[in-house]
Symmetry: C2
C-alpha cells in the first residue's frame, strides 16, 4: 500500500465503534522492547540501526500476527511524508525526527503499528476504536509473543523488560485512552478530575501526544508507572478510573442540559453552523468547534454529521494531510482555506 493509498484509507480506530464511543474515541496500548546486545537509543550507531531493522523485519516475516503488515522505510521519506504518519498516530514525533535508519510496520486498516528505531528498538502498538484497552492489549500481546520467539529481547529477571528510558522499564506498557470530556470542561470540574487522575498513578496529555496542549476537550489518559506492577494491573487500573470519569462526564452533561439547555443548544448549533459554512478554518478552531458538535451528537441534539466523520476529519484536517491531498505546499493561510473547504464538503455529506 502506497502512502497515498494509506492517506485515503479510513483507519479502523476512528470508526466510532466499540464501548462508549460517544465519549471515548480510541484505546491504545504500546509495548517498548529492545534487542539484547545492541546499544540502546543515543548509543546506537548506524550499523546497529541497520542490524535492528533487518533483524526485526526478518522476525516479523516469520510471524502470523504481522504477516499482513506493510513496511514504510522512513529513511526514504521527506518531512511531510513522515508527518503524515505522525498525524495518523502510526509513528511518534520522536521517530519522525530521527536522522538515522528507521521505519514502521502498519497493519491492515491501521489496527496496529510497530515502530523500529524509535527511542526503543521496538515500539509495538495497537489502536482500537472506543473503550477497549483489553482488546488493544490482546493485539500487542500476540505480536510481542510471536516476535519474542524469533528475537533475543532485552529482559532482566529483576527489572523486567529493559528500555532506553527508565520510565518504561518493567512491563514497557503504556495504555492510553483518548477521551472527550466537554461536559467536565463546561461545568468547570475538569481540573479537579485531572488532579484525581494524577493521584492514582495516571497521567493526562492532549490529543497530539506528550507535551501538547489539550484542545477540543480531548484528553489522553494513560498510565505513568510501568515497573513493579503487572500488565493486567495496569489495564485494570486504567479501566476502573476511566469508567469513573465516564460517569462524571455523563453527570456533567445531564447538569448542563438541565440548567442551561438553550445555551448548550446554542453553542452546539453555532459550532455546527460555522463548520458547515466557514471558508477559513484553523486546526485549533476545528478542534474546538467539533468538540461542541461531538457533544451535540452525544446528547442526541444533532442528526448529522456522524461521529465517524468527526473522527476521520480530526486526522484529515492536519497540515500534512491537507497538503498531500491538495498536492501543494501550502502556508498557514492556504491550509486554513483548504481545511474549511474539506470540512464544508464533508459536513454537507454528513457521513464518513
Amino acid at each position: 500500500m502506497t502512502l497515498d493509498q494509506l492517506v485515503k484509507q479510513n483507519a479502523a480506530w476512528l470508526n466510532a465503534s466499540g464501548s462508549y464511543s460517544d465519549i471515548i474515541v480510541s484505546s491504545r496500548v504500546r509495548l517498548a522492547r529492545n534487542l539484547r546486545d545492541i546499544p540502546f537509543a543515543t548509543l546506537t550507531k548506524a550499523s546497529d540501526e541497520d542490524r535492528i531493522v533487518d533483524t526485526v523485519l526478518d522476525a516479523a516475516r516469520a510471524t502470523e500476527s504481522l504477516a499482513k503488515a506493510e513496511y514504510y522505510d522512513l529513511s526514504s521519506m521527506d518531512e511531510l511524508e513522515r508527518q503524515l504518519l505522525v498525524e495518523r498516530h502510526l509513528i511518534s514525533p520522536t521517530l519522525a525526527m530521527r536522522a538515522g535508519r528507521g521505519g514502521v510496520m502498519v497493519g491492515p486498516e491501521e489496527t496496529y503499528s510497530v515502530m523500529i528505531n524509535e527511542e526503543d528498538h521496538l515500539r509495538i502498538q495497537a489502536l482500537v476504536a472506543g473503550f477497549e484497552p483489553h482488546a488493544a492489549w490482546k493485539t500487542v500481546d500476540a505480536m510481542d509473543t510471536e516476535l519474542a520467539s524469533h528475537l533475543d529481547i532485552a529482559f532482566d529477571e529483576e527489572f523486567g523488560f529493559l528500555t532506553a528510558c527508565p520510565t518504561n522499564t518493567g512491563t514497557g506498557l503504556r495504555a492510553s485512552i483518548l477521551i472527550h470530556l466537554p461536559g467536565l470542561v463546561l461545568v468547570q470540574t475538569i481540573e479537579q478530575v485531572l488532579r484525581g487522575i494524577s493521584q492514582v498513578g495516571l497521567t493526562v496529555r492532549g490529543f497530539y501526544g506528550e507535551g501538547t496542549d489539550v484542545v477540543g476537550g480531548l484528553f489522553q489518559i494513560s498510565n505513568q508507572v510501568t515497573l513493579g506492577i503487572s500488565e493486567q494491573e495496569i489495564l485494570d487500573t486504567i479501566e476502573r478510573v476511566v469508567r469513573q470519569i465516564i460517569d462524571y462526564e455523563y453527570d456533567a452533561r445531564n447538569t448542563l442540559v438541565r440548567d442551561a439547555k438553550a445555551q448548550i443548544e446554542d453553542k452546539i448549533g453555532r459550532a455546527y453552523g460555522i463548520l458547515s459554512n466557514a471558508h477559513v478554518l484553523s486546526g485549533q478552531e476545528f478542534m474546538n468547534l467539533t468538540s461542541a458538535v461531538r457533544l451535540g451528537i452525544g446528547l442526541g441534539l444533532l442528526p448529522s454529521p456522524d461521529l465517524k466523520l468527526l473522527n476521520d476529519l480530526m486526522v484529515r484536517i492536519q497540515p500534512s494531510h491537507i497538503q498531500r491531498v491538495s498536492e501543494a505546499v501550502l502556508d498557514s493561510e492556504g491550509r486554513d482555506f483548504h481545511r474549511a473547504q474539506l470540512v464544508r464538503e464533508r459536513f454537507a455529506n454528513g457521513s464518513a
Copy 2:
C-alpha cells in the same frame, strides 16, 4: 384590520422590489403639516387634540387616497401595542410616547401612514421598497393635496408650511433612504463618505431612526434642510448623492472580492451558519450577521435566503413583535431564545 392581522402582514416596503434593492431597502418621504388656528405641539390642549383627530379623520374620509386606510387609536393601546407600530415604522417613537389623544391611519400593505398629533398635527408618510424617492413623493403629495382641500393647513407665504419645530418649516418634507453599505464599512471608507454627505446638506441616522446607533451596516440618509428649496430640489439632491454612494458601495464590494475573497466568503458563510443554527440571538447580533448575509446575496454567493425574508425578519425580530407572536411578556433572555427560533425556522425555509 386588527393589530394582530397587521403584525402577520408583510409590508410592501419590505418586499425587496424597486431599484437597487440589493443595496437599498426602502425610500420614505414624509410631510409635516399643521392645522391653522389650533396651537402647535406642547401648546396643544386635550380639547385641541380631540378636535385635530376628529377634523383630520373627517377630512380623510372625504378623500380617495386615504379611503382604504385603517385608523388605529393610540389612546386605547398599551405600550407594547404602540411599540409594534413603531417597529413597523408606521409611527414615530415620539408619537408612541405621547400621553394625549392621537392615532395613525395606515394604508393597504403599509404603503403609507398618516400620524395624527405627533410633534406636528399631521405627519403624512409613504414607504416604498428600493430606491424610489419620487414614487414615495407622489404618494404623499396626492394625500397632501386631497387633505388640504378639506383642511385649513397652516401656511405662510414667506416661510411655507409652518411646523412645530423650525427645522421642518418650509416644505415640511423629509426624504429618507434606508441603505445598506457593508462594503464601505469593510474597506473603512464609510467615515469619509458620511462626512461628504453632511457637507451637501444631508444627514445620516441608524435603522431605528433619530438618535440611534448604526447597526448592521444600515444607514438612513435624509435631507437636513426643508426651507428655501423646493420639494423637487430636495428629492433631486438626495437622488444624486445616493446614486454616487451606490457607486462607491459597488466599488468597495469589487475591491473586497478581488483582494480578500476567502475572508469575505468566510464572513458571509459563518454569519449564515450562525443564523441558521443559533438558539440564543440578540437583536444587535441579528442585525450584524444579516448584514453579512445581505452582502452575500448581493454578491451572488448565497442561494438562500432571499432579501425579502431578511427585510421581513428585520421587523419581526424586534422586542414587541417577538412578544406579540409568542403571546408572552418576555425578558431579554426569553426574547433572544424566541428570536433565534424564528430566525432558524425562517432561514430553513429560505423565503419570506
